[in-house]
């Protein structure tokens, strides 16, 4: 076990975890933040996306002990206007990928508040949705400001 200091959604945590533990595992198992989903556990699907200092990062292939910045999970973005935009546009079916989609989208609109369709497709291509909500995700991001 090795000491781990994390700032998550503005709160500071000091934990003990074996070196090699993924950030996703720590968030879900140690901090109970189950909004971050693990769907492939090898960095291919985007369901586990969190932000580190505002940048989207795949938490399932991020070693928790290497994280130095501030982590933002879906739990820290629950009041983001994108949440309402996703619901309004029906950009959610089974919903298992959706928190990761919102986290990616939040990073996108923070950097680029009015992205074009192409920019959305570029930024969101790492988040797989097996139900195929993509057209609605595009619509949600285009209309996120209401």
């Amino acid at each position: 076990m090795s000491e781990l200091r994390l700032t998550v959604n503005g709160g500071e945590h000091v934990l003990d975890a074996p070196v090699g533990t993924s950030l996703a595992h720590v968030l879900r198992e140690e901090l109970g933040l189950t909004g971050t989903k693990i769907a492939c556990n090898e960095g291919h699907c985007g369901a586990c996306t969190v932000q580190v200092d505002g940048e989207p990062q795949l938490s399932c292939i991020t070693l928790a002990h290497t994280v130095e910045g501030e982590v933002t999970t879906i739990e820290g973005l629950r009041e983001h206007p994108l949440v309402e935009a996703f619901v309004r546009a029906d950009a959610v079916q089974c919903g298992f990928c959706t928190p990761g989609q919102v986290v990616s989208a939040a990073a996108l609109v923070a950097a680029n508040p009015e992205p074009t369709r192409d920019e959305i497709r570029h930024a969101m291509a790492g988040n797989i949705c097996r139900c195929g909500t993509y057209p609605k995700i595009e619509e949600a991001i285009l209309s996120w400001q209401g």
């Binding site: 769907a39 291919h44 629950r78 949440v83 079916q93 497709r121 949705c129 139900c131 057209p135």
Partner: protein, 733 residues
């Protein structure tokens, strides 16, 4: 009133005759068109929970003292355990129990495919369980491996008898026809890849077993687990409130559930058994590959006079033989049809139902063949389809069929082909193609719902159904709100727990809405009638708003109950549709881009147009994946799955999505229940591959015969077209 009837029950195209207790369905359907709530777009009621990451999926449930299981799977495609030693696993730190072959249902000595479950371990953490599984000492006796479906058929390796159907005089019709076309079509194995992997948590409470599971069928799990473990059904409680996708692969309990139940029994602790993504690719089911040898004959006036198909379903080690021949038998009026469907048993992972099993595959073959026929006859493909319109389902009348209306709605999209083709360049060729859709989706009894209204004017629908992500929870709320004439916001739906509500339909075979919706409406109507009686007793008009009447209740509640009535006797309940697709093909590299899809469907009354458009888009996008990029590959020597990760097995991303236009006929099926609604989950995946292939043909003259349409297949087809020197073919490739 309940009555006992003998009826035909259909799930995913499989029929059985059953005795069934049904209740009458005396309610008149609502008039056609949007009502105050039903037929109007409604965002999902559980949308905020899912989007905010608050929805608790099976994957998120953590019970006190919960252990984690891992499963040892066969590395060989066919082998038998000669000797197994679990002791090294039990010595791994954190390990609490281990199971060998035969110690839990599904763990077997003979492994029929690489990935077959053999043994399992429970430990404090998943990592420990995984390490322990690696430590199990097995001596394998390898057995002969059969991977080729045609060899399997030749040698009699079958999962069941061949299925044959014949009507008319097929040989004579072929002999006398003006035009005969034939082709061999192949479809690949594809994987469901729900983002939540297959998993269950089992916990014993006294002599009762609680099963938290990611499932499409709460009541099926309850029944099968009880039967397998020798428990009364009421001693098995099944819970699934939020579910991360299924697509047909999560209809039954499978080994992970039984492993969790047995390990929980042995350790006295709750146990989670969850498949990893890689196990999902080897051991969680697939849409099996097919080979389809098809022939069609027509008179020169365009009348299809004969159809013949030999189909091979590569079922795998176990599973069932999907109705790949279904579209050939049912889509067109044709007096002479002969089909035979073989079910090859192979040393490959077992198939499972996948979104319109059989029909998605069979429609690819049939609708490409029909396109070929149109070309040979020099008849417009839309015209050919229309002129062979089936007026009955092999003699049985349809409860409703509005495919002609679909074709009418398709006309403006089809008309675009001249303009689309005109945008072709020397490298990028453009074209338009279409394909028709037929599939089941009528649902059936039994299914029940309760409803509860209190003095706060809110209604709670209670039924032990599941919402697998299709939005049925919201559709049920809309139906209840409509019947009670209260706002949608005043209705909650409680679902997902066999201990909290009556029996509910499986969410497979596009059956949730057509099975559950009528029961919910009946329950709401029962409550409404009681409320009207109370109003009358107070001297109020019967149509006094519900909120006003229930305001008198104080602690009292109005309880309504409803049941799904029978399907119409002597009628075929089917769904219909047509897709018109525009593509661009780079004739030098074989790259294909789908630019636009018009998806037009006839599924009776639409409850929620917003959710319905999501279902169609989802089906189309998944179908685009099946058409181009998804392909589960096996090592041809060993039979091991090569594509075990999501970088090797490529599903569509947001960047792969074309413009999708959804249209619905939206006409209630007047013979079907108090709603007139059919299901929509599956229809949109049925015609998309064929419509794409036909658009490619329109653009380039190239005839695609295989899914996926890889660059290799595309270049092969372009080259073949070049050799034939067809219209629109490129000069040189």
């Amino acid at each position: 009133m309940a009555r006992l009837i003998r009826t035909e029950k259909e799930v995913e195209g499989r029929f059985e005759e059953v005795w069934i207790v049904v209740e009458e369905d005396p309610l008149e359907q609502w008039p056609e068109g949007a009502r105050s709530v039903v037929g109007r777009p409604a965002p999902r009621q559980d949308g905020p929970l899912r989007v905010r990451g608050e929805a608790r999926y099976t994957a998120d449930i953590k019970l006190p003292g919960m252990l984690h299981a891992a499963v040892l799977r066969s590395p060989h495609a066919h082998a038998k355990v000669r000797r197994i030693d679990l002791a090294p696993a039990l010595a791994v730190p954190g390990v609490r129990a281990a199971l060998g072959p035969g110690e839990a249902h599904g763990l077997e000595e003979e492994a029929g495919w690489a990935g077959a479950p053999v043994a399992a371990v429970a430990a404090d953490t998943f990592a420990q369980a995984r390490a322990a599984v690696e430590a199990i000492d097995v001596e394998w006796g390898e057995l002969e491996v059969v991977l080729d479906p045609e060899e399997a058929i030749r040698r009699g390796h079958l999962t069941g008898e061949a299925r044959r159907s014949e009507r008319g005089d097929v040989d004579r019709a072929f002999a006398e026809a003006d035009v005969v076309v034939e082709g061999t079509y192949r479809t690949q194995t594809v994987l469901h890849n729900s983002l939540e992997t297959h998993q269950a948590i089992c916990e014993w409470q006294g002599d009762a077993l609680h099963v938290y599971i990611s499932t499409q069928y709460i009541w099926g799990i309850r029944q099968e687990v009880a039967e397998t473990l020798g428990l009364p059904e009421d001693k098995v409680r099944v819970i699934c409130e939020f579910m991360g996708g299924g697509f047909g692969a999560k209809n039954g309990p499978d080994e992970y559930t039984f492993v969790a139940a047995e390990l929980a029994k042995r350790t006295g602790c709750p146990v989670r058994c969850a498949l990893t993504r890689r196990e999902e690719h080897t051991s969680a089911g697939n849409r099996n590959s097919t080979i389809q040898r098809l022939r069609a004959a027509a008179r020169s006036d365009g009348t299809i006079v004969a159809l013949e198909g030999e189909f091979i379903n590569s079922v795998g080690w176990s599973g069932w033989s999907s109705p790949t021949e279904g579209p050939m038998r049912a889509l067109y009026a044709c007096e002479n049809v002969r089909t035979v469907t073989h079910a090859a048993q192979l040393n490959t992972p077992p198939m499972k139902a996948f979104r319109a099993p059989g029909f998605a595959e069979g429609t690819f073959g049939l609708e490409c063949l029909i396109e070929d026929l149109a070309a040979r006859l020099e008849i417009d493909p839309l015209e050919l389809r229309r002129s062979n319109y089936a007026e009955s389902n092999e003699g049985t009348p349809y409860s409703s069929k509005n495919l002609e209306k679909c074709y009418r709605l398709a006309e403006p999209h089809w008309e675009r082909r001249h303009e689309v083709r005109a945008r072709s360049g020397t490298v990028w060729k453009r074209g338009v193609g279409m394909a028709s859709q037929i599939w089941y989706g009528g649902g059936g009894p039994p299914s029940y719902a309760w409803i509860r209204l209190g003095s706060d004017g809110r209604a709670t629908v209670v039924t032990a159904m599941q919402d697998i992500g299709t939005g049925t929870r919201t559709a049920m709320a809309q139906i209840a709100a409509e019947e009670l004439r209260i706002p949608l916001e005043s209705v909650d739906v409680v679902l997902g727990d066999s201990a909290r509500g009556p029996y509910a339909s499986i969410s497979a075979g596009s059956s949730t809405t057509p099975s559950m919706g009528p029961a919910v409406r009946a329950a709401a109507a029962d409550a409404r009638e009681q409320i009207e009686d109370i109003a009358e007793q107070r001297g109020l008009p019967r149509d006094t708003p519900v909120a006003e009447v229930v305001g008198l209740l104080e602690e009292a509640q109005i309880l309504g109950r409803g049941a799904r009535g029978p399907n119409p006797t002597g009628m075929s309940v089917l769904t219909f549709g047509v897709h018109v697709v525009e593509v661009a093909v780079d004739v030098e590299t074989g790259e294909v881009r789908v630019e636009r899809v018009a998806a037009i469907h006839d599924v009776g009354r639409i409850i929620n147009p917003l959710g319905a458009s999501s279902q169609v888009e989802g089906g189309v996008i998944q179908g685009i994946g099946h058409t181009f990029s998804e392909n589960r590959l096996l090592d041809p020597e060993t039979g091991r799955v090569l594509t075990t990760s999501l970088d090797a097995y490529r599903m569509p991303t947001i960047a792969d999505v074309p413009e999708i236009v959804c249209e619905f006929v939206d006409k209630p099926d007047e013979h079907l229940t108090n709603l007139g609604s059919k299901g929509l989950g599956e229809p949109p995946i049925v015609p998309i591959a064929a419509a794409i292939a036909n658009a490619i043909r329109d653009a380039t003259g190239a005839e695609v015969h295989e899914l996926p349409i890889s660059r290799e297949e595309m270049l092969r087809a372009l080259e073949a077209a070049n050799a034939k020197g067809r219209r629109g073919a490129p000069a040189a490739v």
